[in-house]
């Protein structure tokens, strides 16, 4: 399962001769050969793509994080008419595939004149039923007594949410944000629809166009692919311990 990653990185370090050699060369002679990375950066504006990807991902995670936290709080702690009915209707809306929504969303983007902007890559994804569902379930598991004692001590709902609930829900929040960051970073189909200006391409679209337009060499494409894959792997390895503690915490309930 890991072989494609191994192959990607070793190929990114190979010389063109090593790639096509027979018998095959599995591990390049000079494993510190960074020529391909330098060449790839020269042939396509990967730094711009990278920056676009970072901006889009951070905005997505922050905005979605905010809407998710406040909505999950309302759906778990506040009392209002039809709360649980509305929530179960939302859950059934989760079945609608994004492929179906894309037609109208594209039209909306054209009408708002937002195609070829980074905003177009962010705003359609700012409300997630799925993440709200996960967080709401976690919020529901926090005992009521905590809420009442905080309210008696004079804390408003707003203060209670940000000072007490959010810190407690950190593991769940990290999981949601990591999932969200991965999705944003790797998003391809929607990006391809709304972006056709080179300056606003993100990494996945950039590498795809690089591979299909230029007739570029495989070593360079692999170097570019490594640039896309590596940041998420690093992020994942860092966030891993939070996710694991989130899982073990959830296990306590059972």
């Amino acid at each position: 399962m890991v072989f494609p990653f191994f192959y990607m990185i070793t190929t990114a370090l190979k010389t063109p001769q090593e790639l096509t050699a027979f018998p095959p060369v599995w591990i390049p002679k000079n494993i510190f050969n960074l020529e391909n990375f330098k060449l790839a950066l020269k042939e396509a504006p990967f730094l711009i793509y990278f920056l676009n990807s970072v901006i889009v991902t951070i905005c997505c995670v922050v905005i979605t994080g905010f809407t998710t936290i406040v909505a999950a709080f309302a759906f778990s702690r506040l009392k209002f008419f039809g709360r649980d009915l509305i929530f179960s209707l939302l859950l059934s809306l989760m079945m609608v595939p994004f492929e179906m929504l894309i037609i109208t969303n594209f039209q909306t983007m054209v009408r708002l004149k937002l195609t070829n902007t980074l905003i177009a890559l962010i705003i359609p994804f700012t409300s997630s039923i799925f993440y709200t569902y996960i967080l709401r379930n976690f919020f529901l598991s926090i005992p009521d007594s905590l809420y009442y004692s905080a309210r008696i001590d004079g804390a408003s709902n707003w203060k209670y949410l940000w000072r007490i609930m959010v810190p407690i829900a950190k593991p769940s929040l990290f999981t949601i944000m990591l999932l969200n960051a991965i999705n944003c970073w790797n998003s391809f189909v929607w990006t391809m629809l709304v972006i056709n200006n080179d300056n606003f391409r993100t990494l996945p679209l950039g590498i795809y166009k690089f591979s299909s337009e230029g007739g570029a060499d495989f070593e360079l494409i692999m170097a570019g692919s490594t640039l896309i894959v590596l940041p998420m792997i690093i992020l994942f390895l860092f966030a891993r311990k939070y996710i694991v503690s989130g899982v073990s915490r959830g296990g306590l309930k059972g």
Binding site: A71, A74, L78, F80, M100, I103, S127
Partner: protein, 297 residues
């Protein structure tokens, strides 16, 4: 704070908390969903002006009689029928191995997460190189076994197998995670008792693991069927944006995008996407039924 103020707050507050969420949801999910249902009945719908000839089932009749769509349906069906059982079977083996308390298992547990965090586009390009007839890794490995190079990409009839192999690899990690969580919910006491009674490993697997895991397996089969029915972005990196090397591998979602983004025929694209939705909806309902049935054994 008086009692009256408190109850007033109670009415306004939920709206304030929910508005950012619903703002996005209504514009980007609820409205498009209703709109696409409407568009699917508008014949000769114009993207820019929003005008149309008449309301009717014309778009549905066109799509359901269109050979390309039927072919797309068939290709998607073949893809699902192969990809889902193969990946579930492999995942079952892997999940069982990962569930054993072996040394160095932590490293593997990180390793199978890797495909989950990576871009399908980037890793698809890696697979494109691996499938290369002349110097791709797969044919190089096959050459050690004295198997002559296979034309994975440049022979149209092989394209579906190429896609299936990539697809299996793609959904394997997620499948393993689901099965693994199912395995970890099985009470270890069952295993201890079975071992005391002298049951063989295979028998334990067949008589204890499989029956107790069956709800999870059912869930996995349905979830994967739904996600693989939407096969589309996998085609892009491997076949350079075309559905197969000779445009022979149309899938349902590719067909929708083709109508929408290449031919700008929104009415027909909407009709095709509603058909896809109905198929997925039926699958989801059957999932709920199966889950209910398999809860007790």
């Amino acid at each position: 704070m008086s009692r009256q103020q408190f109850s007033l707050n109670n009415k306004i507050e939920p709206i304030l908390y929910l508005s950012p969420f619903f703002f996005g949801l209504i514009i980007w999910t609820l409205y498009p969903f209703i709109n696409v249902l409407l568009i699917s009945f508008k014949e000769n719908y114009n993207l820019l002006t929003g005008s149309y000839k008449n309301l009717g089932l014309g778009n549905y009749i066109y799509v359901l009689n269109n050979l390309k769509f039927l072919n797309a349906l068939r290709n998607t069906g073949i893809y699902v029928i192969f990809t889902v059982p193969i990946s579930t079977f492999l995942a079952l083996i892997f999940a069982n191995l990962l569930n054993q308390k072996l040394k160095g298992i932590a490293l593997f547990q990180t390793a199978y997460f890797l495909p989950l965090v990576t871009s399908a586009t980037a890793i698809g390009l890696v697979w494109k190189l691996m499938f290369n007839t002349n110097f791709g890794a797969i044919n190089q490995i096959l050459s050690y076994l004295n198997i002559s190079p296979i034309h994975w990409l440049d022979y149209p009839k092989n394209n579906i197998y190429t896609l299936i192999i990539f697809g299996v690899w793609n959904i394997l990690p997620f499948t393993i995670i689901l099965l693994l969580s199912g395995l970890q919910n099985i009470n270890p006491l069952y295993y201890t008792v079975a071992k005391l009674d002298g049951a063989s490993d295979f028998k334990i697997f067949r008589r204890i693991t499989i029956p107790l895991l069956s709800p999870t397996i059912g869930l996995v089969l349905i979830i994967n069927t739904i996600s693989t029915s939407k096969v589309y972005s996998e085609l892009f990196p491997i076949f350079s944006g075309r559905p197969g090397i000779a445009d022979n591998l149309y899938t349902v979602v590719y067909y929708i995008y083709d109508l929408f983004y290449v031919k700008w025929d929104l009415g027909k694209a909407a009709a095709a996407s509603v058909i896809l939705f109905l198929i997925l909806f039926a699958l989801t309902l059957s999932q709920l039924q199966i889950q209910k049935k398999w809860k007790h054994y």
